[in-house]
């Protein structure tokens, strides 16, 4: 059957051209029946707050929402691991009829008594929004007794898109920020925002800042700690990595506390170097700048030879990528270009109109750009654009493999850190391992075309 993009998704799929950028339709609810790769508002809130390791995360609703987000992200902690437990109020018919507030309150009190968290987040799910539980009131009541912040997250799945979940998480975080003592925070200080310490990536980035003499007041939210987040308003600069999820919070902190923010990325050597320089520049300190230069020089010296090796094998390969936010997409396009790999398909779950303009600008012409795409579109464009390696998350993986192409997980479940200079090498190694694996030559799509070509060659 001939593939056609759904009418409901018109404007969400475009092709880059020399004629300049076009407006991509985006930031709207997923088309019904589209089989979107995107989740819901709850998901947006849950992924942002998830890595806070000394907080209790209680999902208020029927059991599914908690079950699916149990230990779902590879967000590491250097200490407590409360974030890796899945707690649910597991609402049943009784509560649907009579309300779930009592059950929520009992659950909260007993869980807090058992796990002694530094704060508690209560995530509202679809059902809670309909039955009308006053989650905020319960949280307030419990908070008054237990002496830790108990924060309601208004994350009912139907409230909007994953982006709206980011906003709900922002509102939750703003209740913590500003409540800690900042007397000891120095002038050369930042918050690292939108890094979730997947596979230990925050640790790599923090180490660079340590060498630069820059104090990281808090990471939002990788290897997150409640007390650090409470002091986040003491930092002089907000350094935003995952722009999609954290720009609303950075903007709010600018307004409320006068902290400026910059958007950076630590994926790829170019972007990492640029990020370190930019932080140094914004902190206006000559020593910091000098140390940033030293780090970049030293690290590049270590990684460039390795990257060169990988590039030799990867030159001319074609990549597709489908990621959560656009800033990661920009970085990946540049990082892949560094490896001699062309991006011919790029998309995001939550990109904004401006971000899609930038994505078009950073991509070569004739690249397919997709917003909130679905499985069939991806399968179609992977073939149409003759992709060799696809970069995405778990839901995209089997699409690539069924087509007999390489795949690299750049989402929650990656186990290898891909950020910073050493991460750039790890990324190259991952791409290399999958794109140059000898197994693909055995797959029907490749071996059939090879057989056809061979047959043609021998026919006079």
């Amino acid at each position: 059957m001939k593939f056609k993009v759904l009418d409901d998704r018109e404007g969400q799929v475009i092709r880059t051209s020399k004629q300049g950028t076009v407006a991509v339709t985006c930031d709207k609810a997923s088309a019904a029946g589209s089989v979107s790769q995107r989740a819901c508002t709850f998901c947006g809130s849950r992924v942002v707050l998830y890595p806070i390791a000394d907080a209790l995360h209680l999902v208020h609703g029927p059991v599914g929402c908690a079950a699916y987000t149990w230990d779902i992200r590879g967000a590491l902690s250097s200490g407590p691991e409360l974030h890796r437990i899945s707690c649910s109020t597991d609402l049943r018919e009784r509560e649907i009829v009579l309300g779930g507030e009592k059950r929520l309150e009992r659950s909260l009190r007993s869980l807090i008594a058992r796990y002694l968290p530094r704060a508690a987040f209560v995530y509202a799910t679809c059902v809670v929004g309909v039955i009308g539980d006053d989650v905020a009131a319960v949280c307030k009541r419990v908070e008054a007794d237990v002496g830790i912040p108990v924060i309601a997250v208004q994350s009912e799945g139907f409230r909007g898109t994953k982006r709206d979940g980011y906003s709900a998480a922002t509102r939750a975080l703003l209740q913590l920020i500003g409540t800690g003592d900042i007397d000891s925070v120095g002038p050369l200080s930042i918050n690292l925002m939108g890094d979730f310490n997947v596979a230990g990536e925050s640790w790599i980035i923090k180490e660079y800042f340590g060498r630069m003499g820059v104090e990281v007041v808090s990471v939002l939210t990788g290897d997150g700690r409640v007390d650090e987040i409470r002091r986040a308003h003491g930092a002089r600069l907000n350094v935003v990595q995952c722009a999609g999820s954290m720009t609303p919070l950075a903007k709010a902190m600018q307004e409320k506390y006068g902290i400026p923010f910059i958007r950076v990325s630590f994926f790829g050597i170019e972007d990492t170097a640029h990020a370190l320089y930019e932080v140094a520049e914004r902190l206006s300190n000559a020593d910091v700048t000098r140390r940033a230069q030293e780090i970049v020089r030293a690290e590049l010296g270590k990684v460039l030879p390795a990257l060169k090796e990988f590039k030799r094998d990867l030159q001319g390969k074609r990549a597709g990528l489908y990621v959560g936010g656009a800033f990661k997409a920009f970085s990946l396009v540049r990082a892949l270009r560094q490896l001699g790999v062309t991006v011919a398909l790029a998309g995001t779950q939550t990109g904004s109109r401006e971000e899609y303009e930038e994505l078009q600008a950073v991509c070569d012409e004739n690249t397919v750009i997709v917003d909130d795409t679905n499985a069939l579109e991806l399968a179609n464009f992977l073939v149409e654009q003759d992709i060799d390696v696809f970069i995405g998350g778990v839901k995209e993986r089997p699409i690539a493999y069924k087509l007999g192409l390489g795949f690299c997980d750049h989402n929650h479940e990656r186990k290898v850190p891909l950020a910073g200079f050493e991460g750039a090498v790890a990324f190259a190694r991952e791409i290399h391992a999958t794109a140059t694996s000898p197994i693909w030559a055995l797959m029907p799509r490749k071996s059939t075309s090879a057989r056809v070509a061979k047959a043609k060659a021998v026919t006079p």
């Binding site: 979107s36 709850f42 609703g61 059991v63 599914g64 899945s86 059950r103 799945g157 493999y401």
Partner: protein
Amino acid sequence: MSCATEDEAFHATLGDATINPCTLCAPLGAALASVGIRDAVPLLHGAQGCATYIRRYLISHFREPMDVASSSFGESQTVFGGESNLHRALDNVVRQYQPKLVTVATTCLAEVIGEDVGRLLRNYNEKRSTHLPVVPASTPSFKDGHVEGYHAMVCALVEALATQRGPQAGSVNILPPILSPADLRHLREIADAYGVKPTILPDYSETLDGVILDHYCPLPNGGTRVEEIAEMPRALATLDLTLTGKASRASTLLAERGAPARILRLPIGIRACDGFCDTLGEISGKVMAEWLEKERGRLLDAYADGHKYVFGKRVAVYGDPELVAGLAGFLAEIGARPVLCATGARNRALRDALADLPAGAVEEVLEDTDFGSIETACARLKPELLIGSSKGYRVARTLAIPLLRAGFPIHDRLGAGRLLHVGYRGTMQLFDSVVNTLLDAKQSSSAVGFSYL
């Protein structure tokens, strides 16, 4: 049940909160059942996240594409109802997949706002020039888990589609619980050996364990045909391997329509496999095929070789009720002790299913439970082996008990779809794995490091 430790007392008082769930939600089971029907697309009526989370969860287990559509509720559908979104979703599913069947399972949200899905679907088909077969099932997760959702969808499919009357066909219906694709293939192989054509409902043995082709299939090949489901009342019998508690059985419906029901244990272990094979023999009038007889013999031979390694071993088993009951029967048969049998299923079918085990073999049964409670029970019962899904890994790691992965889900190993649990052959694989897991634990903890065991 007495609370033997402080920790357990805590769990009892906790009551309300579930810690590390041992169940998924009902629409997951419904979607999984639907994938076992040829050219069917599952659609969930509710917010987008449910479908996406379920896809991700199933993909991590089967490592296969898994498309589940959603009617993608927003605020306005939540307030005013989701009819137009459901219709639009059906339109878009038809446009993209051209399915022969769409199943619609309700999410909590649709249930809470009181959507009458049956009526919405009738309205949909009235508007269309061609009739689209759509089977709805009510699957509220504030009531049911994935096991009950799976059974509900199988029932709904039979109710709606198994309508043909007429002369008896030489076929036999098999209603399996949630099994691996390899299990489903093997059940077919055994039925084929008795010369009866099996109609397995659902059968995702191909759709969720597919081959690589030179093109992408929007709908994977395989699955039970809608026409085969229609013929199910004309089968010689229905072999029902499920445990549904008080919920209605698809086999009862089929019996009312003509195919007598035989409720059997999941064929794991010599006795349960004999029960399954004998029933097929009885129905077909044929004796056991030579290859099957040989597999049975080899299994007995393996039992003899390994019986001392497993005798008296304390084992904790958890997962879906059918598998837990099957494994418990097998363990008791080989002289091991299934001291803890636990399930997150809510249908209260497990305890009864364990009733015919030797007295004292099972020390504790947990139903509608979570891994928080399973961990507490294990700390007290001190099993030497855990058997169940990969979600028990945390318990195994905390308590330093070896874990043998079985059932669903398995998110930390390759080949979950190829794990064989049923038949003499599947039992043999389980038996070898049980013995070898115990030997491995013994070897690694031994100061000597014996090289013959």
